[in-house]
């Protein structure tokens, strides 16, 4: 990669981090998800700033073509995020189900109301 490309990646990471912080500030994003994304930003910046780092990691992993390592890490991370979201979604579904049950139980104790 050229120096310009490295600078571009760093700028993009910083802008993304600021955007994430802005979402937290506006109460649009829970801080636990912010932590997830900011961790990525923090990991990305040194990789962009020190190109030899990626080559060193590739060498350690036995990968000949350094960008492959980057793609491998990126896909691995996105996979992790998606699995994590599936897990969160499952938890939310079971909570919604519990809430629906609670409402039904509360209604059972109420005098009957006429619909329409």
């Amino acid at each position: 990669m050229t120096t310009r490309a490295h600078v571009l990646v760093i700028v993009a990471a910083v802008v993304a981090a600021l955007y994430v912080l802005r979402l937290v500030r506006l109460h649009q994003l829970r801080s636990k998800y912010a932590l997830l994304w900011l961790t990525i930003g923090v990991l990305l910046v040194p990789l962009a700033a020190v190109p030899s780092l990626l080559e060193w990691i590739s060498d350690r992993l036995g990968v000949y073509y350094a960008p492959t390592t980057f793609l491998f890490l990126a896909v691995g991370f996105l996979f992790f995020v998606v699995v994590h979201f599936s897990w969160e979604l499952s938890r939310l579904e079971s909570k919604v189900r519990t809430l629906a049950e609670e409402v039904a139980l509360l209604r059972a104790d109420q005098p009957e109301t006429v619909d329409g």
């Binding site: 912080l21 802005r22 937290v24 500030r25 801080s31 912010a34 932590l35 909570k95 519990t98 809430l99």
Partner: protein, 237 residues
């Protein structure tokens, strides 16, 4: 002046009965609300037996969520004051009286602290001690006030604060104490620390593991960092 003691309780059947009994004899003038935070034991039944009002959450929301539910109850039932007290008997009735007296003295938020002079020694682990020192500095930076114990959950609120926090209470662990403190100071309310004697936990276990603690601190720092530039409306005086 009507006051409500809010007790967030998650599987506290071992200690709750004694705590309620002590409150009934020590501070008979206050009402007691137990927020059963999705317990799987007899917490709610014991709370009913102890003549407390009970909110049963359908699943576990964590301490912050339970406190917020309790504050909403206080708003709906027109309480002038609310005191958040641990279910495990750490906070003696005399200390609750001390917090309420501090509100009488003009404070909007009174925090019972463990480390001030005049309080009994309270041992904490090394990591936690360091982390608390960091929080102390951050809160000092944001509020200009030096609090000795920023994470103490033993707090008394007056009516305007109950209303504010019932609407806008950060429920995550740690944020529910530290971020609230910063929020309240920045909104221009008066916060006073009250050194109180606290006993070791009567039963049950402290709820945080080390890795989780680190993650929680990082989360909190992000929240504080993000809010560092947030504009908040000042209190009308």
């Amino acid at each position: 002046m009507t006051a409500l003691v809010v007790i967030p309780a998650y599987n506290e059947e071992a200690s709750l009965a004694a705590t309620l009994k002590e409150l009934a004899s020590g501070v008979p003038s206050v009402d007691v609300l137990v927020v059963d935070d999705g317990s799987t034991d007899a917490t709610a039944a014991i709370a009913h037996k102890g003549n407390a009002a009970v909110l049963r959450l359908p699943f576990n929301l964590g301490v912050g969520g339970a406190v917020r539910a309790g504050l909403r109850y206080a708003v709906e039932h027109h309480y002038e004051r609310a005191v958040v007290v641990d279910a495990d008997g750490q906070h003696p009735p005399a200390a609750i009286e001390a917090l309420l007296a501090t509100l009488d003295g003009g404070a909007d938020l009174a925090i019972g602290t463990r480390f001030s002079e005049g309080s009994d020694a309270y041992p904490v682990g090394w990591l936690r001690h360091r982390a608390m020192g960091l929080l102390h500095r951050i809160v000092h930076w944001r509020t200009g006030q030096a609090f000795t114990d920023t994470t103490s959950g033993f707090r008394a609120f007056d009516r305007p604060l109950i209303e504010l926090l019932a609407r806008d209470y950060p429920v995550e662990y740690l944020a529910d104490t530290v971020e609230v403190l910063i929020m309240v100071c920045e909104a221009g309310y008066t916060v006073v620390e009250v050194p109180t004697p606290m006993r070791p936990r009567a039963a049950g276990q402290a709820s945080t593991r080390r890795l989780k603690l680190v993650v929680n601190y990082l989360r909190l720092l992000i929240g504080i960092l993000a809010s560092a530039t947030r504009h908040r409306p000042r209190r009308q005086s």
